[in-house]
C-alpha cells in the first residue's frame, strides 16, 4: 500500500503547485476538487485498519472536500466576470519557487522530527507541512477574495493530511466535527465572497481597506 499512498501524496503536492501557478479562479476550484478526491483516498492508503471509522471518514471527506466545497466556491463567484488573479504580489514563477522552498523546508524538518511508532506512510508529515506552507504562500500573496479562500483550503487540507497520521487515535466524532466546521466555515466565506463581489463588483480584497485607525 505504501507505494499507492506515496503516489497519492505526490499528486496532492502536484495539485498544490498547480494552484500556485494557475491564476484562473475556476481552474483553481477544479484543482481543489481533485485534491479533495485525493485526500478522500488517503485514509485507505494510510494503512490504518479498515473499518467503520475509515469508511465514514473517506465518505465524509469525499462528500465535503470534493463535492460541496467546490460547489460553494463556484457559486460564490458566479457573478464575477473577471476570474483571473490580478497582479499577485509575486508572479507564478515566484510562487513556484516559494513552493519548492516550502517543500524543501518541510522535508528537512519532517525527517528530523521524531515520529510516532508505526507511522504507515512516511510522506504524510512532510507533505502536510508542505501544503500548509504553500497554503500560506497563497494566503499572503494573492489578492482576490476567492484565492484566499482557496489558500485557506490548502492549509486546511495540509492539516487534514497530518491528522491522518493519527487516524486511529482521534475519535470519529472529533474528525467529523472538524469536517463540519470546515464546511460551515467555507460556506460562510463563500457567502461573504459572493457579497464582496456584489458590493465591489470585483474580487479585489485590496479594496477592503477602509477600517483603520
Amino acid at each position: 500500500m505504501d507505494r499507492f499512498g506515496d503516489v497519492v501524496l505526490l499528486l496532492v503536492l502536484m495539485t498544490n503547485f498547480a494552484v500556485l501557478v494557475t491564476g484562473r479562479l475556476s481552474a483553481c476550484i477544479r484543482i481543489m476538487t481533485a485534491q479533495g478526491v485525493l485526500l478522500a483516498m488517503l485514509p485507505l492508503a494510510s494503512g490504518a485498519r479498515f473499518g467503520v471509522h475509515i469508511a465514514v471518514l473517506t465518505a465524509g471527506t469525499l462528500a465535503i472536500k470534493a463535492g460541496v466545497l467546490p460547489r460553494i466556491l463556484r457559486w460564490a463567484i458566479r457573478e464575477a466576470p473577471v476570474r483571473r488573479e490580478l497582479a499577485p504580489s509575486i508572479g507564478p514563477i515566484g510562487g513556484v519557487l516559494l513552493g519548492l522552498a516550502a517543500v524543501g523546508l518541510a522535508f528537512g524538518v519532517a525527517t528530523r522530527l521524531p515520529h510516532a511508532a508505526g507511522l504507515a506512510v512516511e510522506g504524510l508529515v512532510p507533505v502536510s507541512l508542505a501544503s500548509l506552507m504553500m497554503g500560506f504562500v497563497v494566503l499572503t500573496t494573492r489578492q482576490k477574495a476567492l484565492s484566499l479562500v482557496i489558500g485557506y483550503l490548502m492549509l486546511e487540507n495540509g492539516i487534514y493530511v497530518f491528522g491522518l497520521t493519527l487516524a486511529g487515535d482521534i475519535p470519529l466524532l472529533v474528525e467529523l466535527g472538524v469536517l463540519l466546521d470546515v464546511f460551515v466555515g467555507v460556506f460562510i466565506m463563500g457567502l461573504v465572497v459572493f457579497q464582496i463581489q456584489r458590493e465591489l463588483e470585483s474580487q479585489d480584497s485590496r479594496r477592503l481597506t477602509e477600517l483603520r485607525d
Binding site: 510516532a116 492549509l155 487515535d169 472529533v174 472538524v178 466546521d181 466555515g185 466565506m189 461573504v192 458590493e199
Partner: protein
C-alpha cells in the same frame, strides 16, 4: 448529565428559536435559555460534578470560571437584546437569536470539554456562530470586518488544530497508544513522559492559533474591526465572553505544558506576547477617534495583561484570572453603554459625542464608572486583580515588568480618559430631544447590573470564588495570595 444539559440547552434553544415563526417569541427564547443556562451553571458551581457525558465533559475550576463569566455576560446581553431588537432589525435576520444561542452552546462546550479535539471544534464553532451576527450585507464596513474576522481567525484556528494534532503526536510518540490522546486527564497523567519537542511545537501552534482568537498582538488585527463594526450587544459578547473562551483554550495548553514541567519556554512567550499586545493597544488607543474601536483596543490590552499574568506565574496568575472575570463583565457593560450612545447620537466618532452626563445621565455615569473600573481603579474587582498581578511580578524579582505595565496602563488611561471624559462631560448637545432623555430600562439595567457585580466583587471576594481562583491558578502553576 447536568454538564451535557449546559451545552445542549442553548443548542436546542437555537434550533427551536430558528423554527419558531413568531419573531416576537424569539426574544423570549433568548432570555429563557440564557436564564436557564445561568441557573444550570450556578447548580454546576454548587455541585461541581465530576466527569459526565462519557468523560468528555467535566467541570473544573478553570472552566467553571470562564463558564460563569460567559453565562453572566450572556444573560446581560440577552436582556439588552430585548430592548435592542425593539429599535434595530437584527443582523442575520431570523438567525440572530439562533446564532447567539449557538455561540453560547459552543462557548459552554469549550469551557467544559476535556478533549482538545472538541475544544478546537467548539472554538471554531464560536467563530462561525458569531460571524453572521457581525455581518450586515448592506454595510460595506461590516462586510470588510467580517471578511477579515473570518479569514484571520479561521487561519489561526487551523494552526491551533495542527497544534492539537502535534499534542496527540507528542503523546503517541513518547507514550505510545496507551490511553486516549488529547484527553486532558490522560495528558496530565503522562505529562512528564510527553515528547518535549512535539509538546513545544504543539504549544507554539496552540498559542499562536488560539492567541489569534484571543486578540494577542500581532495576531489581533481582526479584533478592532470586528468589535467596532458589530452591533453593540455582539461586541459586548465578543469581548466579554469570546475572548475569555479563547484565553481558556490557551490556558489548557499551559496546563499540559506546566504538568510536563516545560514552563521554562512557555512563560517568556506569554510575557512577550502580552507586553507586545499592551504596547500595541496603548499606541492605537492614543488618539483613537472611534469609541467602539477604543473599547476593542482596550480589550486587547486586557488580554495582554492576562497573558503576562499567566506568564509570571505565582500570585500573578491568580491576579490574572481575577482580572479576567472582572474585565469580561466590565468590558461587556461598556460595550452595551456604547451601544446606547450610538443609538442616541448616531455616530461612533468620539469627537462628535459630548454632554452625555447631561443628555443621558445613567448611560453617561455608567460610561465614566466603567472607565475607572476597566483601568483597575479601586474599589472595583480589577483592582485587587492587578494588585496581585503586579505583586507577583515584584515578588518574582521582575520589577521591570511591573514598571512597564504601570507605565503602559497609565498611557492607556490617558487615552481612554481623554475620550470617555470628553464624551461624558460638557454641555448637552443642542438636539431635537430635550436633555435629559428617558432611557429604556432594558438598555440601561443590564450594564448597570454588570458594573454593580464588578463593584461588589471588588468590595469583597466571596470565599468560594476565591478558592476557585486559587485552584484554577494552581492548575497552570499559579499560587494564591
Amino acid at each position: 448529565m447536568l454538564l451535557l444539559a449546559i451545552v445542549l440547552v442553548p443548542a436546542l434553544g437555537a434550533v427551536a428559536a430558528y423554527l419558531d415563526q413568531a419573531p416576537a417569541r424569539r426574544a423570549a427564547w433568548l432570555v429563557g435559555c440564557a436564564a436557564l443556562h445561568l441557573a444550570l451553571t450556578a447548580v454546576a458551581w454548587r455541585l461541581a460534578p465530576a466527569a459526565g457525558a462519557m468523560g468528555w465533559l467535566a467541570f473544573d475550576p478553570l472552566g467553571g470560571l470562564v463558564l460563569g463569566a460567559v453565562s453572566i455576560v450572556f444573560v446581560a446581553v440577552a436582556c439588552y437584546a430585548v430592548g435592542y431588537l425593539r429599535r434595530e432589525d437584527p443582523r442575520g435576520g431570523r438567525a440572530f437569536v439562533s446564532c447567539l444561542l449557538a455561540f453560547l452552546a459552543s462557548a459552554s462546550l469549550v469551557a467544559l470539554t476535556r478533549h482538545f479535539g472538541l475544544l478546537w471544534v467548539g472554538m471554531e464553532a464560536t467563530t462561525l456562530a458569531t460571524a453572521p451576527l457581525i455581518y450586515d450585507p448592506s454595510d460595506r464596513h461590516s462586510l470588510e470586518a467580517v471578511w477579515k474576522y473570518l479569514m484571520i481567525c479561521s487561519v489561526g484556528i487551523a494552526l491551533a488544530l495542527l497544534g492539537t494534532f502535534f499534542l496527540a503526536t507528542a503523546h503517541l510518540t513518547a507514550v505510545g497508544p496507551h490511553g486516549a490522546p488529547l484527553m486532558l486527564p490522560d495528558l496530565l497523567a503522562r505529562a512528564d513522559a510527553l515528547h518535549p519537542a512535539w509538546l513545544r511545537a504543539a504549544f507554539v501552534f496552540l498559542l499562536i492559533g488560539f492567541g489569534t482568537k484571543m486578540g494577542l498582538a500581532p495576531m489581533h488585527t481582526w479584533l478592532p474591526d470586528a468589535h467596532g463594526e458589530a452591533p453593540s450587544p455582539i461586541s459586548a459578547l465578543l469581548s466579554g465572553a469570546l475572548l475569555n473562551v479563547a484565553f481558556l483554550a490557551v490556558l489548557r495548553g499551559c496546563q499540559v505544558v506546566h504538568a510536563a514541567g516545560q514552563d521554562g519556554f512557555a512563560r517568556p512567550l506569554l510575557i512577550g506576547f502580552g507586553l507586545l499586545s499592551m504596547l500595541v493597544a496603548a499606541a492605537f488607543l492614543l488618539g483613537q477617534e472611534n469609541y467602539k474601536r477604543m473599547l476593542a483596543y482596550s480589550s486587547i490590552e486586557q488580554m495582554g495583561i492576562l497573558a503576562v499574568g499567566v506568564g509570571l506565574s505565582g500570585v500573578a496568575t491568580f491576579g490574572a484570572l481575577l482580572q479576567m472575570v472582572g474585565a469580561s463583565l466590565t468590558k461587556a457593560s461598556l460595550f452595551l453603554v456604547a451601544g446606547n450612545v450610538l443609538i442616541v447620537y448616531g455616530t461612533k466618532r468620539t469627537r462628535e459625542v459630548s454632554g452625555l452626563l447631561r443628555a443621558m445621565p445613567v448611560s453617561g455615569a455608567l460610561l465614566v464608572t466603567g472607565l475607572f473600573a476597566i483601568s483597575a481603579a479601586p474599589p472595583f474587582a480589577l483592582f485587587p486583580g492587578e494588585l496581585a498581578l503586579l505583586a507577583g511580578a515584584v515578588r518574582g524579582g521582575r520589577t521591570w515588568i511591573a514598571v512597564v505595565m504601570i507605565l503602559l496602563q497609565a498611557t492607556v488611561f490617558m487615552a481612554m480618559g481623554a475620550a470617555v471624559l470628553g464624551m461624558a462631560l460638557g454641555p448637552a448637545p443642542a438636539g431635537p430631544r430635550p436633555a435629559p432623555i428617558r432611557e429604556d430600562r432594558w438598555l440601561v439595567l443590564p450594564p448597570l447590573g454588570l458594573l454593580l457585580l464588578v463593584l461588589l466583587l471588588g468590595l469583597g471576594l466571596p470565599p468560594a470564588l476565591r478558592g476557585a481562583l486559587a485552584a484554577a491558578a494552581a492548575t497552570v502553576g499559579g499560587g494564591a495570595p
